[in-house]
Structures are given as C-alpha cells and as structure tokens.
C-alpha cells in the first residue's frame, strides 16, 4: 500500500512532465491533438497525487513505522484525528499536500475550462504542469515522505505537541489552498504573455480563481492567527513573525490583484498591471514557501532545517520569479493597453487601492527580508519587530482604510467625488459619533482608541451605505427598495460584506490593542483576582492524564458581581515522547470579548503564576475575516463570474438570485 503511494507519486511526476511540454508545444504549433492532452493528463496527475497522499495518510492512521516519515512524526497513542492531521504536520507531508492542492487546481482548470480558448487552456495547463513537475522533483529528491525503514521501531517519535491541535487540521490546508490557488492566476498570466493575447475573457477567467484563492488565504491566515492566539499561550493574535508575514504578503498582493482584475474585466484597463500583479502574488506565495520550508527562519513554524532543500527551493524561486518577470519584460510591451479613465472614478480608486496595497506588501517584504540579508552579509542576527511594521504598515493602512468607502460608490470612468461625499455624510457623522462615544464613555485617555473606533465605524457604515444607495433607499419607497436590495448582484453584496468584514477586523484590533487589560500574579488555591469587573477564583491544580501527555490542570471559577459564570480550565501539559511542555490557555468568550488565562510556573508552597488578560472585542478580528470570506464567496457565486457559461449567464440578467441554483 505504501509503495503504491510512492509509485503513484513517481507517475505523477512523469505525467506532470508530459503536461508541461505536450500541450504547450501543441498550442505553439497549432496542433489540436497535442493541446487536448493537457486536460486528461492534469486530471490523472491529480488522481495519482491523491492516491499517494491517501497512502501516506493511511500509513499515519495505521502507525506504520516502516515509513520513516511516520516514525519521525507520529506516535501510536495519539488520538486518531491527530494521527491523520500529522500527515501534513511535517515538512515532507506538507509539501505533498502543497502538490496535491496544486494538481487539484490543475484538474479543476481542466474540468471547468471547457469554454476556454483551446490554446489558452493548453498553455495554462502546461504552466501548471511545469510548477507541479518542479515541486514533485523537489519532493522526490530532497523530501521524499516514502523513505522506508527496513527495521522499523515499535514506537514513533511523536509530533511537536504544539501542532497536536485541531488548528493543524484546518490551518495548513486552508493556507495552501490560498497560496497554491494563486498559481492559477500566475499560470493564466504567463499563458497570456506566451500567447501575446490579453482580453476580456482572460480577466473573466482569472478573477474567480483569484477570488477563491483569496477567500482560502484569508481563512488560512485568520485560522493561523487564532491558533497562535490560543495555543502558544501568549494571547497575541499577530506577531509580525516572518512566517506570518510570508502568508500576509501574498494576501496583500492578492487583494490588489482582485481589485485590478475587476477593472480589467469591467473596463479593459490595467491589463498589463494585472498580469504583473498575478506574477508578483504567486512569486510572494513561492517566497513564503521558501521562507518556511528552507529553514532560513527559526521559529515555531519552521520545522525544516536541511540546507539542500533550501538551495533547491531557492532555485525554484529564482526559476519562476526570474523566468516569469523576464517573460513579462519581453512580451508585455507588445500587449495593448486598455481603456482610458479620469483620476476621480472607480478605476482611479482601485488604482489608488493597488498602490497602497503593493506598497504595504513591499514594506512587509523589506521588514521580513532585511534581517535575513543582514545575517547573510554580516552574520549578525537582528530582528525587525512590531514597531517597524506598526509605523510603516500602519501608516499606509490608515489612508487606505479611510478611502475604502468611497470606492464602491464612485461611478466607472468618470466619478463625482462631491456627490459620493454627500452620500457618505450620514456614515461619516455616525462614525464621528462613535469616536466621541468611545472617547467620552469608554476610554477618555486614548485618542488612538477613539480614532480607531471611528475609522472602524466609518468602514462598516460605508459598506452599509453602499448597499443602501445601490438599492435606492430614500429615493424610492421602502418596498421597492427592498425588492431592489434583494435583486442586487451578488458581487455588490460581496464587496459590501468584504469591506464590512474589514471594518469588524479593524474594530477588533483597535479594541484589543488600546483597551486590553493584563494581570500577572501568583495565586494560591482560593485566591481571587479581579479583571474588567470579573472575579476569577483559583480552585487548585489537579494532575490529569491524556492519551500521550500528562497535565496539571488548573481550575478557575468565574463570577461577575457575585453571580457565578461557571468554571474554566487551563493546564500545563507534558509530552514525554518529545520531552516537551506546552501551555493550554483557558479562554472564556463573553459577548465578543474574551477572558484569557494562562498558567505559568508552579511556585514552592502551592502558588501558581497566572497571567490573566481581558481582551475586549477580540473575536471580531477573526469574525471580520469570516465576513470577508463570506463576501468573497458571495462574489464568487455571482452568475457574471461563473466560469464561462455565456448562454446561461444571459438568462440570468436582471434576476441573479434565480440563477444562484
């Protein structure tokens, strides 16, 4: 069974090689038969990688320690769920997941691409196949998960306990769906450059893939952030850790790509820029993969430390980034530029958005790579921390966030700023009110909190204003407005939801950063600590035993004004197989806010060091991301964006909600 997986992986490499050469040759030479090879081969390559991945997963499920990878990263006593998720909790397995998702996207392009121009489809599949072939080669030569042990030991070495969490089940697959999803946009961009043709059909095709990848990446980043928040026991939601930045940079570039693709699809403008962004976004995804997988960083996430791998990934990076940019420099001047527009217009607003987002991505890139460059040149280890990012990135985000509500309300080609401002007056007034309320009633000291709350309210209300005006509220009677509201295209809802989610996330971040409360104290059983009006009584520690760990579990009883609110648990775990301790924080959600209790060292005499945080509105950070994802999904479901189905799309005109089925 294991060897079948290994063999299927090798076959996938062979198929990917065929996929990267034959369809491309067919497209260049105008040979229909050669072009037609791309589709079936892409689907079969995916099937082969799926067989391979299934074989590895089964080996994990059955604790087959004759597979070296399983022996290194699993333990027979782990709960079944963590045995299975352990498949991608290590370098080799996660690379296999990466390729599985890559080939999945290739197969999807093949399956849903019936209406694509044949030569474009063939070229896209060839580019995808080439990416797949290179990564399969990387896996088979430097990171083969199917290396066998002739004399297998009876017990595995267990997975890093920090990774034995439901977070691992969700975070990497989502993140990879995002990262790798951008490979489709990349393949389309490179295909357009090779074909020398860039038209409306191209943009119409690229946008849904970009949207889907963006939705997954948003989810992956939010999930990773929440995972770090509750698992690492520090109560922080974002650390500007290089690994986090590695996933954040493609997100920023992908967001820019998403917006410029709208312009290109609707107006035919910004063509060349969109192609460049598609290349940059996937390049940043590859850079992220390189940073995490090569071991150049040393942090919680970086569980690979093999220089041969690093050099191999660096070569892949240079090949793809350098190759695609060279192709761009060579072919882009030959592409026709798109339509013209006034500076004050929706196109203008989207260009501004692109400028801010790409500059932000560039600052994050500088902050992430600078320490590496310094280390490489002088051998000195420095770290670029939150202050740098808060100053540069934060400063860039402020005007961008302030301008977001204007964008959707501006007309295409030639907008009227005064009219839009007038429409936004109500939202502006209410946002100002929110800021004042925050300043007077919640926190009189922090002007930052007030400004932040005002900005968040401005974003949320701006998104709602957009919906209100598009449905004609105020201009027509309420029933008509309601009917219009229901009949709005899904992409309008998508835009509003995504911007609203952004507002919620901003609100969460502002509240936590400016108003969180923290207490560090030694508690003995029976002691009570007060925070934000809540009383937390420490009941005591009791030893517990899990399937592959032992723990000291602390019980806390929560109450407010004397009325009990139940108990919460936090524990210090020890995993004997790796000899590693972990801290499991106790978290209680109260409304949108959370109480976060993290146990520290046990002192002589039964005292326990306890850190307690009051995190106001903290869940909004991730709920906002969920709303953004919902917005993206809504936009994806818009009939207009459904991948090439012109006949059905015509029927859908005016009644998009019918077409949703």
């Amino acid at each position: 069974m294991v060897e079948i997986g290994h063999f299927a992986l090798v076959l996938a490499l062979a198929l990917s090689l065929v996929q990267s050469v034959v369809p491309l040759a067919g497209a260049r030479g105008g040979n229909g038969r050669l072009m037609a090879v791309g589709g079936p081969v892409a689907v079969t390559a995916f099937a082969m990688v799926a067989v391979s991945f299934a074989a590895l997963t089964i080996s994990y499920g059955r604790s087959d320690f004759s597979v070296e990878n399983v022996w290194e990263n699993s333990h027979s006593l782990k709960p079944m769920l963590f045995k299975l998720t352990g498949t991608w909790g290590n370098h080799e397995g996660s690379m296999l997941l990466w390729v599985l998702i890559l080939t999945l996207f290739g197969a999807l392009v093949a399956a849903f691409g019936r209406n694509l121009p044949a030569s474009l489809k063939a070229t896209v599949l060839a580019v995808q196949g080439f990416i797949g072939a290179v990564f399969l080669l990387f896996i088979l030569t430097t990171s083969n998960p199917f290396v066998r042990l002739v004399n297998p030991p009876m017990e595995g070495r267990d997975l890093n306990p920090v990774l034995q969490d439901i977070g691992l089940a969700i975070h990497p697959p989502l993140l990879y769906l995002g990262y790798v999803g951008f490979s489709v946009s990349f393949a389309f961009a490179v295909a357009a450059l090779i074909e020398g043709r860039l038209d409306a059909a191209w943009a119409r095709w690229v946008r849904p893939w970009t949207l889907a990848a963006w939705v997954f990446l948003t989810g992956g980043i939010a999930m990773g952030s929440y995972w770090a928040y509750y698992e690492l026991g520090w109560g922080g939601f974002w650390f500007w850790d290089p690994v986090e930045n590695a996933s954040f940079m493609p997100w920023l570039a992908g967001t820019a790509l998403l917006h410029s693709a709208i312009v290109m699809e609707k107006r035919g403008a910004l063509k060349i820029w969109t192609v460049l962004l598609a290349i940059l976004t996937f390049s940043l995804s590859l850079l992220g993969t390189f940073l995490v997988r090569s071991g150049v960083l040393t942090s919680v996430h970086a569980f690979a430390t093999d220089p041969t791998r690093g050099v191999f990934i660096l070569c892949i990076l240079v090949l793809f980034v350098g190759g695609s940019l060279a192709l761009f420099a060579w072919r882009a001047p030959g592409l026709t530029a798109g339509g013209l527009f006034q500076p004050i217009s929706r196109e203008g607003a989207l260009v501004l958005n692109n400028l801010f987002l790409t500059t932000a991505a560039a600052t994050v890139l500088v902050g992430t790579l600078y320490p590496l460059v310094v280390e490489a040149v002088s051998g000195e280890k420095i770290s670029v921390g939150a202050p740098f990012f808060n100053l540069t990135f934060g400063l860039l985000m402020l005007p961008l966030l302030a301008l977001v509500p204007f964008g959707p309300l501006l007309a295409w080609k030639r907008g009227d700023l005064a009219a839009v401002s007038q429409r936004l007056m109500a939202a502006f007034g209410l946002a100002l009110l929110a800021a004042l309320v925050s300043l007077i009633f919640v926190d009189g000291v922090s002007a930052f909190a007030a400004a932040g709350v005002g900005l968040s309210a401005w974003l949320i209300l701006g998104a709602l204003t957009d919906l209100a005006f598009k449905s004609g509220l105020g201009a027509v009677t309420a029933p008509v407005a309601l009917r219009r509201f229901v009949g709005l295209p899904r992409s309008v809802f998508g835009t509003a939801l995504a911007h609203l989610g952004l507002g919620l996330t901003t609100l969460g971040i502002v509240c936590v950063v400016s108003m969180q409360g923290e207490r560090i104290l030694v508690m003995k059983p029976g002691d009570t600590a007060e925070i934000a009006g809540y009383a937390i009584r420490f009941e005591g520690l009791e030893p517990m035993k899990g399937p592959n760990f032992t723990e000291e579990r602390a019980t806390f009883v929560l109450s407010r004004d004397g009325s009990p609110l139940g108990s919460m648990h936090a524990s210090k775990r020890f995993y004997p197989a790796r000899g590693m301790p972990t801290t499991e924080a106790g978290i209680r959600t109260l409304g949108f806010s959370q109480l976060y209790v993290s146990p520290g060292d046990i002192q002589d005499g039964g005292g326990l060091v306890v850190r307690i945080w009051w995190k106001p509105m903290v869940t909004l950070i991730w709920l906002g991301a969920l709303v953004m994802m919902a917005g993206g999904t809504m936009s994806l479901l818009d009939r207009r964006l459904r991948v090439g189905a012109p006949s059905r799309a015509r029927k859908a005109v005016g009644r998009p909600e019918v077409a949703a089925s």
Partner: protein
C-alpha cells in the same frame, strides 16, 4: 504480487490519459469567448443604467466602447488547425513512452517494492527478528493480551520478565504457564523465585510451596533447594539452611553456578550469625548452661529470656530482628496467644505498611499464627 498488479494498473491509467486524447479527433475550436463577455457587459450596463448609477451620456459612451471592442473581437478570426507534422508525431510518441519509462525508471531508483507496509497492529500480532527485547516483550504482551490461553507464550515470556526485573509480572506469567502447560520443576521453582523476588527477597510461604512442589517433581532440583535453604535461614533455622547449602555445593557439578551460589550463601550466613551474636540474646554460655539444667529449669530460663526480650522490645520497639525472634520464641513455647499479641504489637510498632511488618506477618503466617486485622 498485489503491488506489481496495482503498479501496472496505475501505469496503464496514466499512459491512457496521454494516449487517448492523442488518438481522438479534436473538436472544432469555438474561440468566441470575448464576444460573450462583451454581451454580458452590455447587459450589465443596462442594469446599472436602470438603477440610476450611471448617467445617460456615460451609458451611450460605454455602449459605444463595448461595441467597438466587440467588432474588433469578431474580426479576429480563429486560427485554423494546422495539419499534424512530423515533430508532433515524434513528440506524441515520446510523451506516451515517457510515462512508463520515467515512472518505472525513477521508481526503480527510489522505491522499495519488496518492503510491505507494516501497520503497528499487524506487527504486534506477528513479530519479526531483529527487534530489541523491549520490542519483543511489547509484541508478546499485545499477543498474549489477545490470546491469554497461549501457555507457551507465557512460558517464554516469564523468564524474560524475570531478567528485566519485572518480578510481579514474571510470577503471574509462571503461574499462567503452570496452569496452561502443566507443572514442572523448572516452572514451579521459577514461580517461587519470582514470588520471592517480588517480596524483596523474602521467601514467602507461597514461594516455599512452589519450591516444595518443584522438589516433589524432581528431588534435588538445585534452585528449589537453594531457595528453601534461604527460607530456613530467614526463619532462624540457620543450621538447617547451612546443611542444605553444603549439600547443594557438594552435589553440584564443579562448574555449576549453584555451587558458587551456595558457597556465597554459606559465607553470608556465617557473617550474619556472627553479627547476630553481638546482639543481646541468649549467649552460647547461656545455651550451654541451659543444656545442663533440668527440663523444668530449662523451661524457666527460656521463659525468663523471652520475657526480658519482650520487655526490651516494649522499650525499644524499632527492632525488626527482635520482633521476629520474639514471635518465633513464643511459638516454640507454644504460647500462640502471646505470639499473636507480639505480632500485633510488632506491626503497630514497625508501621503497618513497612517491609519489616510484612516480614513479621509472613513469619507468623508460616508458623501458623493467624492474626485478625
């Protein structure tokens, strides 16, 4: 075999994925996507105009622009499919051949086709050579947990447990082996040894019974003789013990480990007896004197000595050896009640869970003194 069949099937599927599209006539290329997109754009323009989001002049302008693009797209004629050329045939053949060649070639270098998968549960059921003792024990334990009636398994496992120092489990394994495979001198004495080891070297009545059964099956079985002698010594019958060991040393072959063991035991016993002589108790002179006396006087003297020992232990109860001697003395004097009382006092004084108290209890039990707790 199954692997080769599956690998062949996969190769076939992969090759067909390349071969089939190459052998089919490609359908006519409908390269009309742009026009459809522009038509959608026109429809959406109308929608936006109806909603009043865009002025009438802009509508006209945009409609004109989309119309212009549409005409341009229409004008672009799709390229006609070129007839297949030689290079295309060569490439197609190479592609079809590449799949099995690359697949089997790379796998031949990287793969280990003759290594079967080894899920843990299957391995626990069937253990292979080359494993360490712990692994084998793990295998055997898992196997015996599933098949507790496998007497041979217990028989093999028991001495291994003994060597690993897991004497309680060894005793259980020997007992199971005896129950399932029948009693032999080797198994019975193994059980006795395990029991004694589990009791920190004290040869308990159960252990003695096991050794006795071993001797009943095979008189003179060295391990049983050796351990029964230890039992005698522990119960204060040093002479008896010495005699047994001497006989064992004399009977055993020159290179037998039992000869060495017996000689060492004799030396150790002599050292202890010498040490015991320093302790308060009946001296050799006292005993010699007692032998000269009339039986009644003898009895009186012994009772006086026992009473003085009793008194000493009341004042200084933390003396395990003393308690053992006192209990034995009362039994010899046939004062069972006093012996029982001494046991209770000893246990109370030495601590209920201490080893010393357990030794006292075991001695009492072996001498037929029962205490109700």
């Amino acid at each position: 075999m199954l692997f080769w069949l599956a690998a062949a099937a996969l190769t076939l599927v992969a090759s067909l994925a390349v071969l089939l599209p190459l052998s089919r006539q490609p359908r006519a290329d409908a390269d009309r996507q742009d026009v459809a997109v522009y038509r959608d754009q026109l429809a959406e323009l109308d929608r936006e105009a109806a909603r009043g989001l865009i002025g009438p002049t802009e509508v006209e302008e945009a409609r004109a622009e989309i119309g212009r693009r549409m005409i341009r797209a229409d004008a672009a004629t799709s390229r006609a499919a070129a007839p297949p050329r030689n290079w295309a045939r060569v490439l197609a053949t190479a592609a079809v051949l590449a799949v099995p060649l690359v697949g089997w070639g790379v796998y031949a270098v990287l793969g280990s086709p003759d290594l079967p998968s080894q899920p843990l549960s299957a391995r626990l059921a069937k253990c292979q050579a080359g494993a360490t003792v712990e692994e084998l024990v793990g295998c055997a334990e898992a196997h015996l947990a599933a098949n507790p009636e496998d007497g041979k398994g217990w028989d093999v496992l028991a001495p291994i447990y003994m060597r690993m120092g897991r004497s309680a489990e060894a005793a259980q394994a020997f007992a199971n082996a005896i129950r399932l495979e029948g009693s032999t001198a080797l198994r019975e004495s193994g059980l006795g040894e395990a029991l004694a080891d589990a009791a920190d070297g004290s040869v308990t009545p159960q252990a003695q019974d096991a050794f006795a059964r071993a001797l009943a099956i095979e008189p003179g079985f060295p391990k049983a003789v050796y351990y029964l002698a230890i039992a005698s010594f522990q119960q204060g019958r040093a002479d008896e013990a010495m005699a047994a060991w001497r006989k064992l040393a004399a009977d055993a072959a020159p290179d037998s480990p039992w000869r060495t063991a017996a000689n060492e035991a004799i030396a150790e016993a002599e050292r202890r007896t010498a040490a015991a002589a320093d302790q308060p108790g009946p001296t050799t002179q006292d005993v010699e004197a007692a032998k000269q006396m009339a039986p009644a006087d003898q009895q009186a003297m012994i009772e006086t000595m026992v009473a003085s020992l009793d008194e000493k232990l009341r004042q200084n109860p933390n003396d395990p050896e003393g308690w053992l001697r006192l209990v034995r003395s009362y039994v010899v004097l046939e004062r069972k009640d006093a012996a029982r009382e001494a046991v209770v006092r000893a246990v109370a004084a030495l601590g209920k869970d201490s080893d010393a108290a357990r030794q006292v209890n075991e001695l009492a039990a072996s001498l037929g003194v029962t205490t109700t707790e």
